[in-house]
Amino acid sequence: MTGTDLRVIVALGARSVKQTFRRPQLLAPIVVFPSILLAIQTAGAGQAVNLPGFPPVNSFLDFMLAGAMIQSTLLAGNSGGIALAVDIEMGFTDRLLAAPISRFGMVLGRLAGTAALSALAGIWFLVIGLIFGAHINEGVPGAIVMMLLVTLSGLAFGGIGAAVALRTGRASVVQGLFPLVFVILFLSSAFFPQDLLTGPAATIARYNPLSFIVEGIRDPVISSLSWEVFGKAIGSLVLVGAIGIALSSLALRRRLRMGG
């Protein structure tokens, strides 16, 4: 990667972040919606901590914090995809393609923006969690691990959103993935312990990579850092990221072959 590539990635990433802050409809799903659900679910299902088999926690908020963070990163990936599709629709991507910059840098710039937004959302949830009484068992090192995993999640899920945007070039199609985000979330241990899920979700959550990622983020909050849990989270992120980048590359190549 050359210095020019790096400058392109930083510039496009910064543009992506600014764009999100300027459009409330892109920011709302990343911060507002998960915050509202966190507040309602924490108070609505708070007594769940008394269920037999629920892991020992200080409060249900401690457990839910990781779920809100991962929900936010998934939606950040979706929003990033929508913004990229809008760029394609408005012809901005064509102008980038005509510029002397690497194709890889173009996509990576957008993903860097999504990762930065995920990190900011992670900090937001950490702060409101601490304000409302969440307790991070592993302290500052635990919070750093959480932020690392949340940022990498944004990068990985952003790849999937970018792939759909590049393949279809239509914001409405990427927006259509919004319900799918919740299907994936509900079929994981994002909001409840895996052993207490019911129906087919209990089985699917056992193999859903999202469960491993969310457990990695949750581990420092309710337990102690474990290499095994961290390793599984990183492995899952590498898997999702590799799929996203591979699909994005294929979609970009197809778009270039078809003439944008």
């Binding site: 409809q25 509202i36 309602i40 108070a43 007594q47 299907v183 509900f186 899920l197």
Partner: protein, 255 residues
């Protein structure tokens, strides 16, 4: 305009909304899909909550009325989004210069939403019964559907008020989020006694709690007038307030 002409104008607006369902079937999908995903998802995720002492029914029976109201909320809010689109495209201006009085136009808009809210309700009920939701009895079902139509109307009034204020489809998230908040800050997840913190207080005073309990009664037990009238009263109150706001917006809208 005579009474008969007003009724015909309302019917024409309802027919237009129905045409939209036939011509753009995809537009109805979010209103149907979102509450169904939430119903199936939340039942799987929080299903074990019904093991808590004091939980009165299986979780899927507890949750289905919430999803029914959510579906009505999304469908009603969609009326606001469609109105904003009509405003943006100038179609609404043509409606305003017609001889139809403002209340007639509003009635056409919100009554179409009441009927459209039966689409997600029917789909959700089929899914619910397929996975074993308790049959609420004919009286319970009638009350539930009445409440669903009422909430569809409430949501349409809310969406219309916002559409007339912002005159842009970009207000859509506000229309949907408003209804979602109204429905979820109730006894949506658990009975009042099991709610904790701020939600316990908010749910106690949120009128939609009573509306939800009226819709829920058949699914978790028997239907009684005592559980029905508070819900109908709250629904009437919400309708009065929000239709008043929507009508005020209509009257202030100049061509």
């Amino acid at each position: 305009m005579t009474w008969a002409q007003s009724v015909e104008a309302v019917r024409a607006l309802i027919r237009r909304a129905a045409n939209e369902i036939l011509r753009v079937p995809g537009a109805a999908i979010p209103g149907v899909l979102a509450p169904t995903i939430f119903f199936l998802g939340l039942t799987s995720v929080f299903g074990a909550l019904d093991h808590l002492a004091g939980f009165p029914a299986p979780y899927k029976d507890w949750l289905i009325p919430v999803s029914l109201l959510q579906g009505a909320g999304f469908t009603g809010a969609a009326t606001g989004v469609n109105l904003a689109r009509d405003i943006e495209q100038g179609w609404f201006d043509r409606l305003l210069v017609s001889p139809a009085p403002r209340p007639v136009i509003l009635a056409g808009l919100v009554l179409s939403a009441a009927l459209r809210s039966l689409i997600p309700a029917a789909f959700l009920l089929v899914v619910g019964f397929a996975i074993g939701v308790q049959w609420p009895g004919l009286d319970g079902l009638v009350i539930t559907l009445l409440v669903v139509m009422g909430m569809g109307t409430v949501a349409a009034c809310w969406g219309t008020t916002l559409a007339l204020k912002y005159r842009s489809q970009s207000a859509a998230p506000l229309m949907q989020a408003g209804m979602l908040l109204l429905v979820l800050t109730t006894t949506a997840y658990a009975p009042l006694a099991l709610l904790t913190g701020w939600l316990h207080t908010v749910a106690r005073y949120n009128p939609v709690t009573q509306i939800l309990e009226a819709a829920r009664q058949g699914f978790i037990g028997g239907v009684t007038w005592g559980d029905t009238w508070p819900g109908l009263l709250c629904l009437a109150g919400l309708l009065a307030v929000l239709s008043g706001l929507a009508l005020r917006g209509m009257r202030r809208t100049a061509v």
